[in-house]
């Protein structure tokens, strides 16, 4: 992994140094996963590059540029950009409620040229940046003090509220999980954590009653009894399970997935792409893809542990956890282990906005890796 430790050890790195320091092996791994996604998009379109595969190639190519650019930016610059990014993401989030257009019954997009920008995607990166910067300046005792804790929780809660209002339950969950994981990593006392977990468990029935939308409740009910309405609301889960299961050990083969090709799988190009993959490549292919994901995550955790700055550590860990939460929620959802929430599979699902934010995340992760030797004073605010 560590190609040239002496270069990383230098306080200042030249552009060439940084390019050499980029972990190209990881980039290759990411490209491999994205290629699997593109192949699946080609397959679910019935063996055509239109309408998804070709555009996804463009998304990924753009994402690669973003990754490299983000990786060579000094981690301290990212630190300086943390709060502004958070502010901008928040503004955009507010803007979708005002100017965003309606799609799939939820307001989530802002048209940005050819791209439909989802501010909630951007927000996850921005929140991780901002919280990492905030927590970088806090000692363990500070983290558990009411004042700083309230600020940290507030930074999580404000975007969470806007996203849940969209309404987008899946992304809200991920934002909350991202934020809380960072508080946990920064050393939040168990005296806060355990009672809170207990409180959440107790409050769940109340949330069911007063907070959740009808369509969200319907999803949960459908999840619990999918067979009761196999042709209606339970359709998605039932068909997804059939698709995965019918793949068997070796899969039906590339382009031979009947469930997705014949439209039995809903939205097979986005949230359910993993299902199509499992159908065509079977248990063997699915496990191979899981291993690839695991390697990427392992790299992320390793990057976090090896960074010398608390900011870098929190940032790397936050980004990789965000990546993990996507996989977890999507994987559990399409395999019928949790209710259907609209979360795509990172790198696999079709979508420019998701692809770019995931690649931006990896870019920042790479930046942490390249600048792992950089030490940042506790009270520093970056270098801009």
């Amino acid at each position: 992994m560590v190609l040239r430790p002496y270069a990383a050890a230098k306080r200042t790195l030249s552009f060439a140094d940084k390019l050499l320091e980029v972990n190209w092996g990881l980039v290759l791994l990411i490209a491999l996963i994205a290629s699997a996604g593109i192949a699946m998009l080609y397959s679910v379109a019935g063996g055509h590059f239109q309408p998804w595969a070709l555009k996804q190639i463009a998304h990924f190519a753009l994402g690669l540029v973003v990754l490299v650019l983000a990786s060579v930016i000094d981690v301290r610059v990212w630190m300086s950009l943390a709060y502004p990014a958070y502010g901008v993401a928040l503004l955009l989030l507010v803007a979708v409620d005002v100017a965003g257009h309606v799609g799939l019954g939820a307001q989530r997009w802002i048209a940005l040229g050819p791209l439909d920008l989802q501010p909630s995607e951007l927000m996850k990166i921005a929140l991780v940046l901002a919280l990492s910067r905030f927590l970088h300046g806090k000692n363990i005792e500070d983290v558990s003090r009411p004042g700083p804790l309230a600020i940290g929780l507030g930074m999580i809660a404000i975007p969470a509220v806007f996203v849940v209002l969209q309404p987008n339950l899946g992304t809200t969950l991920i934002i909350v999980m991202d934020g809380c994981s960072l508080l946990f990593l920064a050393g939040l006392s168990w005296w806060w954590i355990l009672p809170t977990l207990g409180g959440v468990a107790a409050a769940a029935p109340l949330a069911w009653r007063f907070v959740l939308h009808d369509y969200q409740k319907a999803r949960v009910e459908t999840f619990i009894h999918p067979e009761a309405d196999a042709l209606g609301k339970g359709w998605n889960i039932t068909q997804a399970k059939i698709a995965i299961g019918s793949g068997g050990v070796a899969g039906k083969g590339f382009l031979n997935g009947t469930q997705s090709r014949l439209n039995f799988l809903p939205e097979s190009q986005t949230d359910f792409i993993w299902t199509s993959f499992c159908e065509e490549f079977g248990f063997v292919g699915a496990m191979a893809l899981l291993v690839l994901f695991a390697v990427v995550i392992f790299y992320g955790v390793q990057t976090a542990m090896s960074a010398r700055s608390q900011f870098g550590r929190l940032l790397a860990m936050g980004i990789i956890l965000n990546f993990f939460f996507y996989i977890m929620v999507n994987g559990l959802m399409v395999m019928g282990l949790i209710p259907v929430v609209g979360i795509p599979m990172p790198l696999l699902s079709y979508g420019g906005s998701a692809m770019l934010t995931v690649m931006l995340g990896f870019g920042i992760l790479m930046s942490v890796h390249i600048h792992r030797q950089v030490e940042i004073p506790r009270h520093s605010g970056g270098i801009i």
């Binding site: 299961g245 496990m287 995550i297 392992f298 993990f324 395999m335």
Partner: protein, 637 residues
Amino acid sequence: MPLFDKKDKSRYATFSRRAVGLGGAMTAVFAVLAGRLYQLQIRDGDQYMVEAEDNRVSERLIAPPRGRILDRFGVELANSRRNYRVLLVSEQATEGVAQALDQIGKVILLSDQQKKKVMHDIAMNRKFVPVPVVENLTWEEFSRVNLHLPYLPGVQPDVGESRDYPFGAELVHILGYVASVSEQELQQSDDPLMSLPGMRIGKRGIEKQFDKDIRGRAGASRVEVNAYGRIIRELGKDPGEIGEDVYLTIDRQVQQLADQKLDGESAAMVVMDVNNGDILALSSTPGFDPNWFNVGLSGAQWQGLTADDHKPLLNKVTSGIYPPGSTFKTAVALAAVEAGIATPSYRVNCPGVFVFGGHEFHCWRPHGHGTLDLEGGIKNSCDVFFYQTAHRVGIDAIEQAARKLGLGKVTGIELPGEHSGLVPSREWKQKTYKQPWQQGDTLSVGIGQGYVTVTPLQLVQQAARLASGKQVVPRLVHSVGGKAVPRPEAAKLDFSDEALTRVRSGMNKVMNEGGGSAFNWRITEPGFEMAGKTGTAQVRVYSEGQHGGPITKNSALEWKLRDHALFIGFAPVIDPKYAIVSIIEHGATPAHPHVQMARDVMLFCQQRDPAKLPPAYPVSQAADAAPLGPKFAKAGE
């Protein structure tokens, strides 16, 4: 201040510890994902594979063409007409459905109402489902549509099938008809064809009796469908088996004449080959057009059929039950000869009335017939002769003779719903009325009244048996799907030659000797002479008082109360070939129209002689008798 102090160290340590913990948690989640994959793909993979196949593969039934029904010379009596129609697939109508309909309207006539219906059908169906626009087009209209096809996007010309009965009502009581499958029939059958939309099955007659053969076996096309039911491609095909043709023994020419002669009266006529039982004509009028049921009957049409007092829905030949009247005297005569009572010297004096048990039994001729022998009794149809003879013979011998002639039980013809009629006996009366048999009952039966009832089909069988001296039974179907229906050779009738000869002689005198009851309506062409026996069946129930009194003139009565007119006959007198029955309900008039029509039909039938003409189906005399058809019989010898 150092960049890296003790506090940093403690929070780094906490971070590392907790990051490792989270790593463990992530590993656990991955293990769950992998476990779930194992569960779905390996443990339950086979089951999900089946479910995916169920999703994907759909069987589309292919309805086989229904077999034809033909007469003995290959004339199609029921066939499948090509139904030229135009379908519209809305998703292929690139310029919109309304525009497409306007375009079709320029090529063939299309009413606004039709257009409305199409718009409605298209709205009700998925956009790739072909919706019929017009059906039953002429070939000319259909080819015009085909010619303009390049300018008609979304239009699909299609050739379907529809059952057709070219002769309409003429053969309806033989053929029956086809109509939509009822809910009950759907539940009782396991043939997948039954649930096919638009499926028609036989409801009466041959169409019903041989429905399974005529229907054929459903073909199936295994197709791959998508989630919306659209067919993506064909995976395999089983063409099924087309329905089998049924050849009848009917000669449509004779049938046509019989139908014309009956002329819509409430009447029935059957012509039968006396030697092998072939039915050449079987007519029951009025009938109805079986094509109505195929396209769907209107309420008014159905109302008309059920309310008509001439009962067009009833096949009077197999299901109409009548007192045989004087035609039954032939059975009594046979019994009398066989019992040794009616010897050649046997004479009965008819003074016009027969007094028995304090009651007067009148002859139809008030002044009587004088002294008669057996042949004379038959010739004059003298009631007193048969009162006295029946009384002497007794009910047991009469019952036995009637049964030998085939009365009292179904003939077994290949038509559904045949009735058996009734030949009464002592046991029957005891069982039914809990009363012993009375001598008076025997007298009534002796002239074909009282408890005895028959169907016209039994009467023609009786005539054929008298003529041939064989136990012939009527048959309507020669072969199904090229295989002859097995039919054993008729055994000799269990009557002495003397008895048969004398009864035949009586029947000959009825028609061909001056003074015979049907002499006026005899066949005069030499070599075609017919023997026969008329009958009049009382419809009114006579009270004791009336029975003894003078008979009211028929024409003075309301139609429904008038007597039925019956006639049985065979021809030629020497070496008979054909037997006939004709019945006109409430039609007993001095002009004897039922005998006239029987005469005309029998003359035509003899002159045409269908039994001698080469039939369309392969036939050999030996084969008809063999249980397994011609080829097997030859091989077995």
